[in-house]
């Protein structure tokens, strides 16, 4: 991402943002709530277009892609949304199977087998016929994760994967992200304000503040940095250079 600028209703959310994501790595983007992390993630997939700047995927500038090209590109992406974004009117099985049904050309049996395989991967193969309303928050996130990876994407994006979950369920999700990366060697971008999660899943951590990436490093480098803004954030202090009011 190069020199990305994006404004919403007169408020500059991203300002000359530069970010590199390397193939096969898990990059965690941390930052305060409302600082533009989800907006950044949606720029990567073309769900939001920047006011200016360029975004490259495999050396192709996606900022001017039309809908058809964006759809082709998104076949290589999976995304876990903050609230899982499962389709209410469909069962768990139908939710996970939908991308396969639309794009894979597999038979009904093959689609069912693959759906069950992905649900098993997230430990939920018994909820195939249940509806999203019947699931807990953690289960919804796991189903969302199964749907995100059902097409075996090259890149998986996670928007606040552990927010709103209890510590044990958060660890289950973190472990799943790790397992997925090691198992099928996908590139992952995780957006979170959960520092424990960032340390557990990240190969690199980038901090977004004031519309820019202000720090990038390994989890060990983050833990050892004396960058004032990063320190205040990872230590969770209300006093410091980041103004909270």
């Amino acid at each position: 991402m190069r020199n990305i600028r994006r404004e919403f209703n007169g408020q500059q959310v991203l300002e000359d943002l530069d970010l590199d994501i390397r193939r096969g790595e898990t990059l965690v983007v941390i930052g305060q709530s409302g600082c533009g992390k989800s907006v950044l993630l949606k720029h990567i997939t073309g769900l939001i277009k920047p006011d200016s700047g360029k975004i490259f995927f495999e050396d192709k500038d996606i900022t001017h892609f039309n809908r058809k090209k964006l759809f082709e590109m998104r076949m290589h992406f999976g995304m876990l949304f903050q609230g899982a974004a499962l389709f209410d009117s469909m069962s768990v099985g139908e939710n996970v199977a939908l991308p396969l049904k639309k794009h894979s050309g597999l038979s009904v049996e093959e689609i069912r087998d693959k759906t069950l395989e992905k649900l098993k991967l997230v430990g939920l193969k018994d909820v195939y016929d249940k509806y999203p309303a019947e699931l807990s928050g953690g289960m919804k996130k796991r189903v969302g994760l199964a749907r995100a990876v059902v097409m075996d994407p090259q890149v998986v994006l996670y928007d606040e994967p552990t927010t709103g979950l209890d510590p044990i369920m958060a660890d289950v999700i973190n472990q799943l992200i790790r397992d997925l990366q090691h198992g099928i060697n996908i590139t992952s971008v995780v957006v979170t304000h959960d520092i424990d999660s960032a340390y557990k899943v990240g190969d690199r951590v980038a901090m977004l503040h004031g519309g820019r990436i202000i720090f990038t490093g390994t989890p060990a480098e983050v833990a050892a940095t004396d960058h004032e803004l990063v320190r205040q954030f990872i230590e969770g202090r209300s006093e410091g250079p980041i103004r909270t009011v």
Binding site: K42, R67, F71, R74, F81, G83, D88
Partner: protein
């Protein structure tokens, strides 16, 4: 100066709305050949919009027919023979009351339901999730709803016309003393098939408007529950207003140009 700023902002907002609706209409027509891929979805929506609206249309139509008969008989007193009662009820119902009132009551129900559904999907990121799995929300969500509403509104209007005439007939017999035969005589006397066809052509447009406004406002939803409420309200208000305005334009085109009396 402030007033000019406000006026400018309203004008820009208005132009943006018109542009947004126009773009959505263009996308619907562009994607229309793909409707057959989503026939299952279209049938589900036809059942929701059509079958689900029958009780509402039934009650509305019967009472509209009944009150038309009563009001016409009241105005006829001393001037017009009651054998024309069937003609007036039939003309009023097929030309205006059946199509327009069906569209208004079904529009309130359907555009609100569509806007609330789309709006909830938007604020819970289900629309984004659909985009992420490379499914076009206009093809998957809008097209089936617009097709279903456009097909089902004329069907509901035929049903409404029949019930309203029956309602008028029964009330004419019971409370005005006009026999079924006399009512039928009046009904047939001034009946033109163009009246029926013209009324039904209008409902095709009304059905399109109802689903379009529901989808457009649903897709524009921002925020949470309050945003969904606002979108629902905007969908109902805009669909009702557009039905009334387009009714005038369509009536002028159909009855003064296409089916103009010789």
């Amino acid at each position: 100066m402030r007033i000019f700023t406000l006026l400018g902002r309203y004008f820009l907002g208005f132009v943006e709305e018109i542009g947004g609706i126009f773009i959505l209409i263009c996308r619907i027509f562009h994607l229309s050949p793909k409707v057959f891929r989503n026939m299952g979805n279209v049938l589900v929506q036809m059942e929701r919009i059509g079958i689900g609206s029958i009780p509402l249309v039934l009650v509305t139509s019967v009472f509209v027919g009944a009150v038309t008969a009563v009001q016409a008989a009241y105005q006829f007193q001393g001037f017009v023979p009651l054998r024309y009662l069937g003609a007036v009820v039939g003309k009023s119902v097929t030309l205006e009351l059946g199509p327009v009132l069906t569209a208004l009551v079904v529009g309130g129900r359907i555009s609100a339901a569509i806007a609330a559904e789309m709006g909830t999907m938007k604020v819970t990121e289900q629309i984004d999730a659909m985009e992420m799995i490379a499914i076009d929300p206009v093809e998957y969500l809008v097209l089936p709803r617009v097709t279903a509403a456009t097909v089902m509104l004329p069907v509901l209007a035929v049903f409404s016309n029949l019930l309203a005439i029956l309602g008028g007939m029964v009330v004419a017999r019971i409370s005005i003393g006009v026999s079924f035969n006399l009512f039928e005589y009046g009904l047939k006397m001034l009946f033109r098939y163009q009246d029926l066809v013209g009324g039904l052509i209008k409902t095709v447009f009304f059905g399109f408007i109802i689903a379009l406004m529901g989808c457009y406002n649903g897709f524009k939803t921002e925020g949470g529950a309050e945003g969904v409420g606002m979108s629902t309200m905007r969908a109902v208000v805009s669909s009702c207003l557009l039905i009334l305005v387009s009714n005038y334009l369509l009536a002028t085109l159909i009855f003064r140009v296409i089916f103009a009396p010789d």
